[in-house]
């Protein structure tokens, strides 16, 4: 019966967004009087998987077939469906991401489950099972009741404030049956900046727009990001101009992020950019134009030149350490 949480691994550890999903899942388990089981696919040390216990999981199923070491939503959905069957789970939860959505969709179709992606709060289980989700690119929310026997929830960052305890989870090996058709695509090449902090996972993002003037002027921004332990993002023109890589581009047509802190440097705040950041808890805008629309969406604003302000902020962060 347990609630099952599919988690993503990064270098053998459970991703932060997935730890949050575990906590979310454990709260859903509590309110539906059951336990929380985690499914982790890929290679990881037992000690890293036990982290799941701190966020409320009782048990971790670990599927670690060599064939599964590479991210594969088809195979992962198949493994998840088998875990769901073994555990008799009715509620399936994962963190919102490209992989999360893909796995959620395929498992929902396998199980004829109602699926809601972009969930922003814990479900209301007082009568029925209702969740709130972001729609219209964060410009509105919808409360949706799930009537299906099996339910799939894809949870947005910051849907719950995860609190770690000292509890521990048991780790069990899970050996699914794999099907060849899930491995029909050949992976030719992967280009990945492995040291990079993931944007969707980051608590703090420092992001630059055309106001940063060119690819050679990014250092002040990178230094602030470094001091804050932040990931870096950019506006669309910046990635279109190849000043920064495409996967950093945030907004309507790029990545949607929901960090605790978003620092926008020399970004005007066009509605298509805001669409990607309106899930952020706190927004800081640094722009030399006091009329820049971004200030309307900001919590803190500095009207100033990024090349003056950024180095001073970096110093202030260093000094406060």
């Amino acid at each position: 019966m347990s609630v099952i949480i599919f988690v993503e691994l990064d270098n053998g550890s459970i991703k932060k967004s997935s730890l949050e999903a575990i906590y979310y899942g454990s709260k859903v388990a509590e309110s539906t009087q059951t336990t929380a089981t985690v499914l982790a696919i890929g290679s990881a040390e037992e000690s890293a998987l036990k982290e799941a216990g701190k966020f409320g999981a009782q048990k971790v199923l670990h599927a670690n077939d060599g064939k599964l070491s590479h991210e594969n939503s088809l195979a992962y959905a198949n493994v998840l469906a088998q875990a769901v069957e073994q555990e008799g789970s009715k509620i399936i939860i994962m963190a919102k991401s490209g992989l999360g959505d893909a796995v959620a969709a395929r498992v929902a179709a396998k199980l004829k489950a109602g699926i809601v992606s972009g969930v922003t709060e814990l479900p209301d289980t007082s009568s029925g099972f209702t969740v709130t989700r972001a729609i219209y690119t964060g410009k509105a929310f919808a409360s949706v009741e799930l009537n299906s026997d099996t339910k799939v929830l894809v949870v947005r960052k910051n849907a719950v404030e995860a609190v770690a305890t000292e509890a521990s989870a048991s780790v069990e090996v899970f050996a699914p049956t794999l099907q060849d058709s899930d491995f029909a695509a050949t992976v030719k090449n992967v280009e990945k900046a492995s040291s990079e902090l993931s944007l969707t996972d980051a608590d703090i993002i420092v992001s630059g727009g055309r106001g940063m003037k060119g690819p050679d002027h990014w250092d002040p921004l990178l230094e602030l990001a470094d001091a804050l332990g932040a990931a870096t993002g950019c506006s669309k023109p910046v990635s279109d101009l190849d000043w920064r890589p495409h996967h950093e581009h945030i907004g309507q047509t790029g990545i949607k992020v929901a960090p605790n802190l978003y620092i926008a440097c020399g970004i005007s705040g066009a509605i298509q950019h805001l669409a990607g950041v309106n899930g952020s808890k706190c927004i800081v805008v640094i722009n030399k134009d006091p009329e820049a629309p971004f200030f309307k969406a900001a919590d803190y604003g500095i009207v100033g030149d990024v090349f003056d302000v950024l180095p001073r902020l970096t110093k202030a962060v260093e000094a406060a350490k």
């Binding site: 991401s97 929902a108 944007l199 298509q272 604003g301 500095i302 030149d305």
Partner: protein
């Protein structure tokens, strides 16, 4: 090659969102509708692939007659014909089931969609359709070439890109820079009028989810301005007041 492109008809990216009837209906008054921006990328690439390889290009929408202008635009951009499944799209599963039903009958080689719709932003319809049809699905795809029935494509992954090769049929969720958006020309607009737009009834199914109500976000508080000379203060405020550091 037979290509199907699934398009949404959605409020323009700058539209102001509001609701009526006790917050249970989207307020369409004064809102301009467009082809979903990601669907538009899928359509643009499909038109190019058809030019290269021949075959047919069908656009599909699950929606009411309100979608017809966007469907006609897709025909003007280069689709040969269109199917509209005549129903209010209620949720991702329902939409996917309708698409899968049509796809099953017509066995397309390639089903292109947007990475996500900009109204429901689920990013799940392609995965659902893929699984319903028992074929692979990938998203977000930013590059796509077809040679001898094989697809070579690049997909954005966390912090990078992955290059894949797979046999058709496939379902792909597309995003830029897979192709440049195409603007219909006069000839396109003229011929679109006579291209077939087949309206078919939806296949009934149980609602797995039911919309209860919509809400708008709480209005944003005032932006606290800090003088540039005192920029350093920001760090202290973020720590003690906003508590995000």
């Amino acid at each position: 090659m037979k290509i199907l492109v699934c398009i949404t008809s959605v409020p323009d990216t700058t539209a102001k969102i509001s609701f009526t009837q006790d917050n249970t209906q989207f307020n369409k008054t004064g809102v301009q509708f467009i082809i979903g921006p990601y669907d538009d990328y899928a359509l643009a690439r499909a038109v190019e692939l058809k030019e290269q390889h021949g075959g047919s290009l069908t656009v599909l929408n699950v929606g009411t007659s309100d979608s017809d202008p966007q469907i006609r635009k897709a025909l003007a951009i280069g689709a040969d014909d269109a199917i509209r499944i005549d129903t209010e799209p209620t949720d991702s599963y329902f939409v996917a089931a309708q698409i899968a039903e049509i796809a099953q009958k017509n066995s397309y080689d390639l089903i292109l969609m947007g990475r996500e719709s900009i109204d429901f932003n689920s990013g799940v319809v392609h995965g659902l359709v893929g699984e319903m049809l028992g074929i692979p699905s990938y998203s977000p795809v930013m590059k796509l070439e077809i040679t001898d029935g094989k697809a070579e494509f690049a997909r954005e992954i966390d912090g990078g890109k992955e290059f894949l090769e797979a046999d058709l049929p496939l379902v792909l969720g597309c995003q830029e820079p897979i192709a440049e958006w195409k603007i219909p020309n006069m000839r396109g607009i003229m011929t679109a009028r006579s291209k077939p737009l087949n309206v078919v009834p939806a296949t009934p199914m149980d609602d797995l989810t039911v919309l209860k109500k919509y809400t708008l976000p709480a209005p944003k508080g005032e932006c606290k301005m800090i003088a540039a000379e005192d920029a350093e203060q920001l760090i202290a405020l973020l720590r003690t007041e906003a508590k995000v550091l």
